[in-house]
């Protein structure tokens, strides 16, 4: 029995199952003598470049990868491989495997224990390059055939697209962060997950029995009988509690003194919307459309988007569906679109900036949403707005689309609501002016916190400073709500904070009309909401707003 722990967790629940290790370590090279020396040199270089690119990113948050980055660029390693290709006519894979192996052996023979361990660094970098060389990263989860806990170095959005969620008991990754795609996805699907588990792949092997306690951040490998029994009981108790919460979910979303606050869901796909409906969401406060784009080989056509938005609207019946227009860039790229190299992608060419720069891309989406708008209660929301001019320009493009559809005789809802995300300090400060022009606001607290505090939530060294309840953020939120209410428009929140039970009372007290969260969080938030007195919550929010510290807000909690 062995136990590994993580500091921060994001999902909840328990998993007890065999591990399905996503292989990236035991790739054997096919060995051929080759004629096409230049071709193999080129392929090798491309694989190295790709590894360097990935490691450059990783090295920003973890020191280990800084050394890996140097290893991937090591002239002796590179020359070693090149020489085997050029002089021994070995194919790139074979040349790489031999060179990496000889270096790893060199380390493994050393007296110093620390240096012996460096052998695994060399092997790790070697594997990374080998995977690039063989183009292996394609659908690694499609081979899963029975219920298991997935253990992987990292899972990208394209990996998880091919995952059969009903087979996935839990997810373990060695490299991702709690704010990564895989972590958010696991929470949305209600899958217990631990990410950034140091030493995961060294300790977990295919078929090992593993236990995940996602709330506590504990992974137990090969548990003894008593431990297994203990966790089976814990898991059952947790599932009972969840069922109880689910029953509660069908009750109306009102505070104990009768104030109605809509509990919406954040979704990224039709599957998520099905789950939102199952969790009794009052609507969808954020439909992240970028996943539709990320899963494709090219920009999705208007018809394809229309079908998806229409399906989504129909699934929700008459409940509101807020579709956020393409929010790509930042940490989310597209395989078929070159964003160029950016020093600060989060401050770069992304979201509405890209859309206004490329009206062809934007209009395709707007037309698809408009066409879907007559199949349900559809609203449109623009991301990353910083100036009135952007809102006006986006609306002008929308008007153009409406006219085109009129001319073509295509139906749409002419009164579709147009809202915007408030996620930049600029939008906060200008919120009164925006309130005159928008039909609703939704505060994106993930990005807003990041931009207000100048803290990168993905950077492990400073992620503790990422505090959505920081007094500055609370002041900003309060300002936006007041601005919205002054002009009689509803204000919602669609950041992860909305699903945080510890923040719920303060958020109610601040005056939000709508909280939008992971579908799996709705039941628990509803329980807190129904136990909360809106008057008392308002008082709590006033105290929180006047407070200089963050910790007191939590102490004031029940």
């Amino acid at each position: 029995m062995k136990t590994l722990c993580v500091d921060r967790t994001y999902s909840a629940g328990f998993a007890i199952a065999r591990a399905y290790v996503v292989q990236d370590s035991s790739i054997s090279a096919d060995k051929n003598y080759i004629d096409d020396i230049d071709g193999h040199l080129f392929r090798f270089q491309a694989a190295v470049d790709k590894a360097i690119e990935a490691l450059t990113l990783l090295s920003k948050t973890d020191d280990v990868f800084f050394a890996h980055l140097e290893i991937a660029q090591d002239p002796t390693l590179i020359k070693g491989v090149q020489s085997k290709i050029q002089k021994e006519y070995k194919n790139a894979e074979w040349a790489l495997e031999e060179t990496v192996r000889s270096f790893a052996d060199l380390f493994l023979q050393m007296d110093d224990e620390y240096l012996r361990a460096r052998g695994s660094d060399v092997l790790d970098v070697g594997h990374r390059i080998m995977m690039n060389l063989k183009g292996i990263d394609d659908k690694p989860l499609s081979g899963m055939s029975e219920r298991a806990v997935i253990a992987a170095r990292d899972l990208t959005p394209s990996d998880t697209v091919h995952m059969d969620r009903y087979l996935v008991e839990g997810i373990l990754t060695e490299e991702s962060s709690v704010t990564s795609h895989v972590s958010i996805m696991a929470k949305n699907l209600g899958i217990p997950a631990l990410v950034a588990v140091k030493g995961l792949l060294e300790n977990v092997h295919n078929g090992d029995l593993v236990i995940i306690d996602a709330q506590a951040g504990i992974l137990i490998i090969d548990p003894d009988e008593d431990t297994e029994k203990e966790y089976i009981e814990k898991k059952e108790a947790w599932e009972k509690r969840t069922q109880k919460l689910n029953k509660l979910a069908s009750l109306p979303s009102v505070t104990s003194d009768g104030k109605e606050i809509r509990l919406y869901a954040n979704v990224g796909s039709i599957t998520d919307i099905e789950q939102a409906v199952a969790c009794h969401a009052d609507g969808v406060g954020l439909f992240r459309t970028e996943l539709l784009y990320m899963e494709q080989q090219d920009f999705p056509s208007e018809d394809m988007q229309y079908e998806i938005y229409k399906h989504a609207a129909e699934l929700l019946g008459g409940k509101e569906l807020i579709i956020r227009t393409l929010d790509i860039g930042g940490d989310k790229g597209l395989p078929y679109f070159d964003f160029g190299k950016e020093d600060n992608p989060f401050l770069g060419y992304r979201a509405i900036r890209l859309c206004l720069d490329r009206p062809d891309i934007f209009k395709t989406q707007l037309r698809a949403i408009l066409r879907a708008s007559c199949h349900g209660n559809v609203s449109i929301m623009y991301p990353m707005i910083i100036s009135i001019n952007e809102l006006d320009t986006a609306n002008a493009l929308l008007e153009t689309c409406k006219k085109e559809l009129d001319t073509e005789g295509v139906q749409y809802n002419a009164n579709v609501s147009i809202g915007m995300m408030i996620e930049t300090p600029a939008a906060v400060i200008l919120s009164e002016r925006f309130a005159k022009k928008a039909d609703f606001f939704s505060i994106g607290t993930n990005d807003l916190t990041q931009y207000m505090l100048a803290v990168d939530r993905g950077n492990n060294r400073i992620s503790h400073m990422y505090q959505p309840l920081h007094p500055a953020v609370l002041q900003a939120i309060s300002h936006v709500i007041q601005a919205g209410h002054k002009y009689n428009i509803p204000v919602g929140i669609c950041g992860e904070l909305a699903g945080d039970v510890n923040a719920c009372e303060v958020l109610i007290g601040l005056g939000f009309d709508e909280l939008s969260m992971s579908p799996s969080a709705i039941a628990e938030i509803k329980q807190v909401l129904r136990d909360t007195d809106a008057g008392k919550a308002k008082h709590l929010a006033e105290i929180a707003l006047a407070d200089d510290t963050i910790s007191n807000i939590k102490i004031n909690k029940r």
Partner: protein, 98 residues
Amino acid sequence: MKGLITIFERKTTIINKSGLHARPAATFVSESKKFDSTIMITNLDTGMSADAKSILLILTLSLTKGTNVAISAEGSDEVEAVNQLISLIDIGVGEESK
């Protein structure tokens, strides 16, 4: 003709608690790469030398705390390279001295 080849060399001692292990070695290598000169680092206790631009070869030198090293360079910026890298080692290669 040998006398015409200039090689600039200086000596110092490793002060990092855990020696020149992965992270400081990586820092050292990225600094070395800024120079055009061919740079060698030698473990004076064992007599083994390595290319100062190769992290893998440097790691194999076992440069633990207290190891005496020499850095030599040959090329257009040899003096600057040696001086820069010697001072980098003398400040503990950017690691907190513990």
